[in-house]
């Protein structure tokens, strides 16, 4: 069933799934067979991977800590101003009891 890859274009079309490791094994094999005979495609795979890595390093971001606390106090305030559910305030951390761990039961 495996049909060989003759042209770089087919190889490039499959790269997205290949670098994520989700290409079906027969297509991955065909792609690697093509790579073994095609230096331009080897370079292409390397730079395609490097693109993802560089962008991830440059653009990765974390939610700022201040935003987490302002979110929780915002939600707490809104909850206090219009109570919908009969409950303790979910965002008042002084009342948050530690939740039981699953493993602790048996």
């Amino acid at each position: 069933m495996t049909s060989p890859i003759h042209h770089c274009k087919e190889c490039v079309d499959l790269l997205g799934e290949y670098v994520e490791g989700v290409l079906p094994p027969d297509r991955a094999k065909a792609l690697e067979d093509h790579l073994s005979t095609c230096p331009p495609c080897i370079t292409f795979v390397r730079t395609y991977r490097a693109t993802r890595k560089l962008c991830r390093n440059a653009l990765a971001t974390e939610m700022p800590k201040e935003l987490m606390s302002s979110l929780s106090s915002f939600l707490g305030d809104r909850r206090r101003s219009k109570t919908r559910l009969p409950t303790t305030d979910p965002f008042d951390t002084t009342h948050v009891a530690p939740l039981p761990l699953r493993g602790g039961r048996g």
Binding site: L67, R102, G103
Partner: protein, 219 residues
Amino acid sequence: MADLNQTQRELAPEEPRPDGQPGDRELVERAQQGDGPAFAMLVERHQRQLYRLALRMTGSEADAQEVLQEAFLNAYQKLPLFRGEAQFSSWLYRIAANSALMRLRRKRRAPDTLAEQPLELAGPRFSAEGYLEPASSSDWSQRADEKMMSGELGDAINKAVAELPDDYRTVFLLKDVDGLSNEDIANALALTVPAVKSRLHRARLALREKLGEFFDGAK
């Protein structure tokens, strides 16, 4: 038959979490019964990914903050309507994505769509026979490691990403930078999974070209 399997899967007990904490489904049920700390725990668990989604869609930290507030408030109010067969995280993503879209519309900055924007994304050049043109294959990947964190490279990356059409950029950032799954992205942005994959691949190809130009210029 397929339906039966589906039902069986939905009724199966929730996978235990590696951290030993209760799963989303259990927390949702508790929150629906008025357990406030359970909802606070859901917020704590999902706020980081939701923040990334909001930030990538709106492009601004201030907007992301407001989207997050609105989304969690909405989720809290709609919680009684949430049905357990859906993933709670997917449901949250939809709520946050809608909130981000409304905000963009109010600012008259609705995302570009393919229909409005003829797409000329950069990509590799092939010969008529389908072989890579030599210009498409200069190998800068080794130098990328050395130059990893230079300011100029950072600027070049930011510029190249900013030049992508909105939905390509959003998909790329959510997947390759933030690590969301294709399914979550498709769900949040109301795209099909194949549409997500195709935007992702084309965005990477365009960025690869721009980075290639940067490294060629920096020799």
